[in-house]
């Protein structure tokens, strides 16, 4: 029932996604592209594909997810340590329209290519991603994130994301340093090794 409840919440979020679309004026889109090129690129790469695994790839990320996260940084409701250290400041001056434009900018980029990791770890991760862990009532990640981890509306794209970043996000969500109640409910019983496996599998998925 818990799993079904979580999925229902997620489906509700996805439905609400339709209401998030915002009209972006051309000059704001241009300013957002400039901001992405001069500021965001320092960590996230000039095309939204970062070289450091500490910073997430943004290329091809879903726009509603990016928008929600940037607003959470700006409003300081996403409060894991890295969010505080890096993104609270970066997002503090962004208007809703600029946020929407930045999100649209990165959503339109080509996703990062996958990087294969340890074969054993990756295959275990694939099983968890596609089938979940029924013994622990952990739902398959693909249920919400899509068969190819491409994301869907407010549910983030995970394909090609840096494994260390994914692992860290699962850890801060599990420990409630990052508030994501639905995701917390899904992964709260996932072991660190299982998280590493899922992260390794996802990092290997291409665009």
């Amino acid at each position: 029932m818990k799993i079904l409840g979580s999925v229902a919440v997620i489906l509700g979020l996805m439905a609400a996604d339709a209401t998030l679309a915002q009209e972006i004026r051309p000059e704001v889109a241009q300013a957002a592209a400039s901001l992405a090129a001069t500021t965001c690129s320092t960590c996230h790469g000039t095309a939204g594909r970062s070289t450091s695994p500490n910073f997430p790839n943004l290329a091809a990320q879903t726009a509603p997810y990016l928008e929600a996260q940037l607003k959470a940084f700006r409003d300081q409701t996403r409060a894991d340590p890295d969010a505080q250290a890096y993104m609270w400041g970066m997002a503090s001056q962004l208007s809703d329209e600029t946020i929407a434009a930045i999100a649209a900018h990165y959503a339109a980029q080509t996703g990062a290519p996958g990087h294969g990791g340890d074969a054993g770890l990756t295959s275990r991760g694939k099983v968890i991603f596609q089938q979940g862990v029924p013994d622990r009532a952990i739902v398959a990640c693909a249920t919400c994130h899509g068969d190819h981890a491409q994301g869907n509306g407010p549910i983030p794209r995970l394909a090609g994301q840096h494994a260390p970043y994914l692992l860290k996000q699962m850890l801060v969500i599990q420990s409630v340093l990052r508030l994501a109640p639905v995701m917390h409910g899904v992964i709260k019983d996932l072991s660190r090794e299982q998280m590493q496996a899922v992260a390794a599998y996802l990092e290997g998925l291409g665009p």
């Binding site: 001069t38 070289t51 091809a60 250290a85 080509t110």
Partner: protein, 475 residues
């Protein structure tokens, strides 16, 4: 007689330079809250433990100190070309350093023969600095430090680095998904920058080069060794340079710079009363590769410079000069975990010297000689709060009874040697990210060529061992 007078003046000047070198070599490197004010980021974004830079801190510096989140004062032309983008709040900050120094044996009194100076020196402040550190305009930023030196009792322009930086590679244009970037730099992040600075290596983002190297803070009054290479702080503050650098795919760094004489104070236009005047242009170069994975980064690099220096100090600024060629190699490994952080730093500098001028003026015996310096440090921090460092250092090279003269002072060398070796142990406590309490011990196993009676005055190398306490506030 005139030659003797000139020689004495030169010796005094050399001792002063040596003292300044000791200070410059130990010149502290600062992290500045004005960057935090400008970016809205906590110190931990850019620093492991201040002032050592994280990979993001290096990116911030290479990008010209311009990332900001402050409201801007804007100017635009009718064609909507931006003519001004200025922080509404200037990125200013203050650093205050209070220290206590104790050497194993007190140093001789500077005036009363046979007496010794007070041992146990409190400097309040050792240094007080004011910074403008941050954005000037789009793509243009600065790190400007104005320092009051407590021992010298004067203000001076300290480390200064003004830089312009921008990406040559364009972000993939917004539009159809799957559209491929095009152009010369397609698929690569290529940043280019220009730097204008007053100290070779002050523009460098790694903590292995002299300007920002370990120890990050040290006593300004304890005795220091008599030899250092030109790139190892000797030219700092007496030159100005411009450089062009490229930072490719956040991994490859290449820089070429040129420095020229820019002595502050004394006679201007610069004349024979000044000491160590760089002749013409002194080229500086830097090449390195950084690999990042997980929470680790590894850097290997090389740097160096060539300089022709006129001794001055009573000798005309013409005729022969001394030629120095420095070649250095460095490496840095950094692990930044949530709880445990550690860094390994190492640098080796080799300097070839052709001292035509010094030989002609009787200040050096050998026209060809060399100096080499090696340093290695291990640093650890637990949650950026408590940690320590252990480092070893060694300077050696050709002996020269005139260059490293036995002048009867504790800065002399009885065997005319530049050799000094030792170690540095340090414990740090940071109750806040911008506040550092430091206990440091510097031990010498050799000082100016010997472990015992190194200057012929009965003083041993270990007598210069130094206990140093520092309270360092940044706000």
């Amino acid at each position: 007689m005139q030659q003797c007078a000139v020689s004495r003046r030169y010796t005094v000047a050399r001792l002063l330079i040596t003292a300044l070198i000791a200070v410059a070599v130990h010149a502290p490197a600062w992290a500045v809250p004005s960057f935090a004010r400008q970016t809205g980021m906590a110190c931990a974004a850019c620093h492991t433990v201040i002032p050592e830079l994280t990979p993001f801190g290096r990116e911030f510096k290479l990008n010209g100190y311009v990332i900001d989140n402050l409201k801007q004062i804007k100017g635009e032309t009718m064609e909507r070309r931006e003519t001004l983008s200025l922080n509404q709040i200037p990125p200013l900050s203050v650093m205050l350093q209070v220290s206590y120094t104790h050497t194993a044996q007190a140093v001789p009194d500077s005036d009363a023969t046979g007496a010794v100076a007070k041992d146990g020196e409190v400097l309040f402040p050792q240094q007080a600095s004011f910074f403008y550190a941050g954005k000037i305009a789009n793509n243009l930023g600065a790190f400007i430090q104005l320092t009051y030196d407590g021992a010298e009792d004067h203000f001076a322009l300290d480390n200064t680095d003004v830089r312009y930086a921008r990406y040559l590679s364009e972000a993939e244009p917004t539009g159809e998904a799957g559209q491929k970037p095009s152009g010369l730099f397609a698929g690569h992040d290529v940043l280019f920058g220009l730097t204008l600075n007053n100290n070779p290596t002050v523009q460098d983002p790694w903590n292995t080069t002299p300007a920002w190297g370990f120890p990050y803070a040290a006593s300004s009054v304890a005795p220091g060794p008599n030899a250092a290479t030109q790139v190892d702080g000797t030219l700092g503050g007496s030159v100005a340079g411009v450089g062009l650098y490229f930072w490719i795919d956040h991994a490859i760094y290449a820089e070429i710079s040129a420095y020229t004489e820019a002595i502050v104070g004394g006679a201007h236009p610069v004349d024979s009363t000044q000491a160590a005047v760089v002749r013409g242009l002194a080229p500086y170069w830097r090449l390195g590769y950084e690999h990042r994975w997980g929470q680790s980064s590894l850097f290997v690099g090389t740097y160096g410079l060539q300089a022709s220096v006129l001794p001055g100090s009573g000798h005309p600024l013409s005729g022969p000069s001394d030629h120095y060629t420095d070649v250095a190699f460095d490496t840095q490994y950094q692990y930044i975990g949530d709880d445990h952080l550690f860094t390994v730093l190492a640098t080796y500098i080799h300097e070839d010297q052709h001292l035509d001028a010094s030989v002609a003026y009787g200040n050096a015996a050998n026209s060809s000689s060399h100096v080499e310096t090696a340093k290695a440090t291990f640093e650890y921090s637990y949650r950026r709060m408590i940690g320590g460092s252990a480092g070893v250092f060694s300077t050696g090279g050709s002996k020269d009874p005139l260059l490293y003269a036995n002048d009867g002072s504790i800065g002399g060398s009885v065997n005319g040697s530049p050799e000094s070796t030792g170690y540095i142990l340090e414990i740090n406590y940071l109750p806040f990210l911008n506040t550092k309490l430091q206990l440091q011990y510097v031990g010498y196993t050799k000082f100016n060529g010997s472990s015992s009676n190194y200057a012929g005055t009965g003083r041993n190398a270990s007598d210069n061992n130094t206990l140093y306490l520092l309270c360092w506030l940044n706000f």
